[in-house]
Amino acid sequence: MTHLGYLLVGWGVSLGALGLYAVRVIQRGRQAAARVPANRRRWLASEDAS
């Protein structure tokens, strides 16, 4: 495969950046949710009622 270095850098940085953002947003959500009273986490009441 030609240009393998370029390919790995391009794909790696892309997937890495999106992955990091995903991890960060989930972490931020957990931290914030832990501090908000349960009765105000509104979407969960409707969807995760199971």
Binding site: M1, H3, L7, L15, G29, A32, A33, P37, L44
Partner: protein, 254 residues
């Protein structure tokens, strides 16, 4: 402490919908990597460098989609003072900046083997996207300036509008500046792409879009939770403020 559910209430921003989307993104990514690296044939001119467009083009499309959402959200905030739209605008701008950065980065990495340069000033889309990137960095800077919450929302909404109306002018001016462009003139519609290449590209766009929706759902909920926290803090602050009055009233007045 009236709800018994505190211990049961999940401490995250996940829901059934977001979980399904998340799984779809992961499955899609595996398929994209397999097809991108091994399925799609190499290009006659670009050889294997063509495999970068499977991340470059989706990033570029999502950049503009995300900033369009920010622009709409900004208008809705200014018009209706809708907090919902303000949160959407903010989240979408964050994602937009990431996609935009990736667009520029993968574009450069692709440009080196293909055009033999990391950067070309004569390319309209490249330069326009860079200016957009700078404008949206400014947007996030305004977002982080602190102060009154609704003032921040208004200021950043106006920044988004300024960016939105000026971007076409930037595009025009760069186009006239160098009356040429290196970019593949709509390679999607030329019909000279192999079927599997085209399919992989579309798959990339789909995966990136689902990721955007997934991330927006989480980001919105984070924003909403953090807002709830501030509202809760405010109630507390008002109580404390009133308590101050009693302390002063009992002792201090003459």
């Amino acid at each position: 402490m009236t709800t018994p559910a505190i211990s049961e209430a999940p401490v995250h921003t996940r829901s059934t919908t977001s979980r399904l989307l998340g799984v779809a993104v992961l499955v899609g990514l595996v398929a994209l990597v397999v097809l991108g690296f091994f399925g799609a044939p190499e290009d006659d001119e670009q050889a294997d460098a063509v495999r970068l467009i499977f991340v470059h083009v989706p990033s570029a499309l999502l950049t503009y989609a995300a900033f369009s959402v920010t622009a709409v959200g900004s208008v809705m905030w200014l018009w209706k003072r809708s907090v919902w739209w303000d949160l959407v605008a903010h989240g979408s701008a964050e994602l937009g900046v990431i996609f935009c950065g990736l667009t520029l980065f993968t574009g450069s990495v692709w440009g080196r083997p293909t055009w033999n340069t990391y950067w070309d000033w004569g390319d309209v889309r490249l330069v326009t996207t860079l200016i957009l990137f700078l404008l949206m960095i400014g947007y996030l800077a305004v977002r982080s300036m602190g102060g009154d919450e609704s003032a921040i929302a208004t200021r950043s909404a106006i920044v988004a509008l300024i960016a939105a109306v000026n971007l076409p002018i930037v595009n025009r001016s760069v186009e006239w500046w160098f009356d040429r462009t290196l970019h593949q003139k709509s390679s999607l519609t030329d019909g000279n792409l192999e079927d599997l290449t085209l399919f992989t590209l579309l798959l990339g766009v789909v995966v990136w879009s689902i990721f955007y929706v997934w991330a927006m759902i989480h980001r919105f909920r984070v924003g909403w939770l953090e807002r709830e926290l501030r509202v809760g803090d405010l109630d507390l602050a008002i109580e404390q403020r009133r308590a101050e009055a009693h302390a002063a009233g009992d002792g201090g007045d003459q």
